[in-house]
Every structure is written in C-alpha cells, then in structure tokens.
C-alpha cells in the first residue's frame, strides 16, 4: 500500500471532493431527469401518458378532470414527457425532495 502513499498525502492536503449536504447542494445538470411536471393549462386529459407509463404511476380521468402521479411508483424515465401529444408534461431537472414531489 506504499505505492498509494503519495496520493493519500495529496488527498489529505486537498479539500474534500464531497459536499456538506444538505447545507451545500450540487446544481442539477440541464436536461437531468429530476421529476415530472405537468402543465394543466394545455393538458387535454387524453390519458395516453397513463396508458404508456411503464410503472403505472399515472392516473388520468377525463370526467372529473384529474391527473395524478404517484411519486413512489414513478421511475422518472421521462417516457410520458416524450409521448405527450400536447407536450404538457415536462421533466424538471431538479430532483424532488424525499417525501414527495
């Protein structure tokens, strides 16, 4: 383990590569699949997203108009955002906090 000694000393003298989460947070990358967002003003409640969701996390009904996402079922694949005909669904790059979106 002597051969790693040089980099161990370097590591001791350098500032840590980890962050002091949650005080200091990393910014999300643009285009990161953080969480699903829906814009109700353009949505027609057609239900395509609910039928295509691989995890059955979405429930949509036309009458009464409702769109529900179960955060614990959602696998954040972004497939709903891809197939939405009105582009009402989008991916927000910020990751949701534990305990809900």
């Amino acid at each position: 383990m002597v051969s790693l000694l040089k980099s161990i000393i370097n590591n001791v003298l350098r500032k840590p590569v980890t962050r002091c989460y949650p005080v200091e947070r990393r910014n999300s990358f643009a285009g990161s699949r953080g969480h699903v967002e829906m814009d109700p003003s353009t949505c027609t409640f057609c239900g395509i997203c609910a039928r295509k969701c691989p995890a059955n996390a979405l429930t949509v009904s036309k009458e009464p108009r409702s769109w529900t996402l179960e955060p614990y079922k959602c696998i954040v694949c972004g497939y709903c955002a891809d197939i939405c005909p009105r582009k009402s669904i989008s991916m927000n790059p910020n990751h949701g906090l534990p305990g809900g979106i």
Partner: protein, 360 residues
C-alpha cells in the same frame, strides 16, 4: 478435532457483498472443500412482467434488471427488437450507443475495483476508485439525464443527442480518468500486499473456464480471447476492439484484464467522439415484433443474451435473459474449493458478481 467438516453459511448479509448471495461453504479446518450457492433473495420475476408490458415499455423494465450495466441491457433488448422489426438504426445513434456503453463499462469496472479493494481491506484504493467513478456518473447525468439508469436507448435509435460542448466534456472526463487510472494501475499491478492477496487466488485453468461456459473478464483472464464486441454490433463495426487477455486465470489476472479494459474503453470513447457522424438519432419503428431472435451484447461482466419471441402483438410472448453472472456462477464453484476461508470474498468479487442480474 482435525479433519472434521463444518458448514458455514457465507452471506446473504456479508460486509463485502453489495448484494445478497449465500454460499454454503463446507470447510475442513480453514479450507473450503465444497461450495454451494443459494440465491433467490432478489428474484423479481422480470421475465414474467415483460410478457405483460408493451414491448416499448419493456425497455425501461429491462434497464432495471441491473443497476450497473443498465444501458447495455436496454441496448441488447433494443437491438433484438430492431432485428425482429427490420429497423436500421442511424449511424449517429450507433456511435452514441457505443459512447454510453463504454462509459458504463468504465463506471462498472471502477465500482468493481472499489469493491475488490474493500474485500481485502484496502480502503484507500476503494475511495480512490469510487471518487473517479463519480466523475463518470456526472458526465452520464449531464449527457442523458440519469446517473446510471440512463434510459436513452429506444427501438430505432436513442432518445438524446450529445451536443458539441458536451462531447468536449466527455473527452475532458475521460482524460481526467486516465490520469486517475495512472495512480491506481501501479497499485493493482505491482503493489506487494495486493499481489499477496490476488496472485494465485481462485485459479482456474483455461480448459475449465471454457468448459464451464465462463464469459467476459473471467474467460479472458484464462487466455480465452472472447469479446462479443469483436462481432461488430452498434458502431463496433467501425471501432475495432481486440479482446484483452491474460493467462494467469487467477484473481490477479482478472483484475489486470479489467484495469486494461478501462484504458481500452477510454480509447474507444475518444475514437467514437472523434468519428461520430452527424445526422438523425432515431428512426420511428412502426408495427409490432414478430418471430424469435437472440440478441447478444458484451457487458462489463461478459456477454448478455436476450431471447425475444414476439407474436405480432404489442406484448411479447417470451423474454429470456441470460446475464453474464449467471454464466460465471459455475466457474465460481470451481474456483472456491481448495481456498482459505479468508479468500472467499476476494474470489467472489473477482468474478464481479451481479446478483440482481442473475436472478432477474
């Protein structure tokens, strides 16, 4: 009493195992005379679930078979469906698939290196490897939106393109990684204490490795030049890959193969970024898969095999996955007898086991 036998249940919870695997070890004093694996702790019935989902939804399902080489699972699945539906993938998409495949191989091998170092108590090597891995995961998130389960492969191409600026970032990441590897490589290759633990540990002959059907680095460490990338799927037609082999057949040879493969992956990424053509990233695929096909892809742990049978509807009739660790399980049983109990973790981690893959 000398010569008496005892049975030790090794796992499913063990400090060095990242996943639940139980080995029933028959011991004579400190020596293993027989090993029997007991699995089934993470069996999720994915093959059955795949029959209930649409074939497009299955991409996201098969990605979740493995949390390490998920992209390659999606790639093998998509390539199979594309063969069934006669879809030709655009050139740019083929190159992008190669770039992400190799980034996956890099992070997988770095993860393995950390776990192996941890298995013989070399904590600083473990930290070093996982720190480097983090950079790969970051570039993966920047280019695809996900750290490991990147969900970019679809039938007919890929979902995302990598822009010029991000391509430069990818190059910067692999350059930095190469510098990091220069620190790690001499440690694994030459360090006295590492060699003490790895050389001669879990040795199998080339004959055994072939006969027991080993794949990937386990086979290549025995001198069997098998790397499915040689057959030229995706853009490996243009980017030539020569299998990296060693002849030792022990844990040390397997470590050497993987370290050298990381350098190879870095070269492939550079070559792919340099040669990538401009153009579309996906074609639309109409219709449903019909017929049966076998699709194979070289994963970090070896060759994965997808058997896909479609009946012309949007649901598949059968999806069968043979993952590399499943193939490497039989060689593992040949490696264990004769070793010391203290070397069992090192041997198990030297095949880079992925239990979630094995059980699906």
């Amino acid at each position: 009493m000398p010569g008496s036998k005892s049975i030790i249940p090794f796992g499913p919870q063990h400090p060095v195992f990242p996943e639940p695997l139980q080995l029933r070890l028959m011991l004579e004093d400190e020596k293993v005379v027989e090993a029997l694996p007991a699995i089934g702790y993470v069996h999720r019935g994915i093959e059955k679930l795949a029959e209930k989902k649409e074939y497009t939804q299955n991409i996201f399902l098969v990605e979740r078979i493995c949390g390490i080489c998920s992209f390659m699972h999606a790639l093998a699945y998509c390539q199979g469906i594309e063969m069934l539906m006669n879809v030709t993938v655009p050139d740019r998409a083929r190159y992008l698939r190669v770039i992400w495949s190799e980034l996956h191989r890099l992070h997988s091998h770095l993860l393995w290196l950390g776990l192996l170092a941890d298995s013989f108590g070399f904590e600083s090597l473990f930290m070093q490897a996982w720190r480097s891995r983090e950079a790969v995961l970051d570039i993966m998130e920047a280019t695809t939106g996900g750290r490991i389960i990147i969900s970019t492969c679809i039938v007919g191409g890929v979902r995302r393109d990598i822009s010029e600026e991000l391509m430069a970032e990818v190059l910067k990441t692999v350059d930095a990684l190469e510098r990091d590897l220069e620190i790690v490589r001499p440690v694994v290759f030459d360090d006295y204490s590492v060699k003490q633990r790895l050389v001669g540990t879990g040795r199998i002959t080339s004959e055994q490795a072939y006969d027991l059907g080993s794949v990937g680095p386990v086979a290549r460490a025995c001198g069997i030049a098998r790397d499915f990338r040689e057959t030229g799927y995706a853009a490996y037609k243009e980017i030539k890959v020569t299998p990296i082999t060693e002849t030792g057949g022990d844990a040390y040879a397997r470590a050497r193969v993987r370290i050298r493969e990381m350098y190879q992956s870095i070269d492939i990424v550079r070559q792919a970024v340099r040669d990538i053509p401009v153009g579309d990233i996906a074609v639309s695929a109409r219709g449903n898969p019909e017929g049966e096909v076998i699709s194979r892809v070289e994963q970090p742990r070896g060759e994965v095999i997808y058997y896909i049978k479609g009946d012309g509807t949007k649901n598949l009739e059968r999806l069968r996955v043979r993952t590399p660790t499943f193939a490497n399980m039989a060689p593992l049983l040949a490696m264990l007898p004769g070793c010391e109990l203290a070397n069992v973790p090192v041997i198990v981690l030297s095949i880079d086991p992925c239990i979630s893959c094995t059980e699906r």
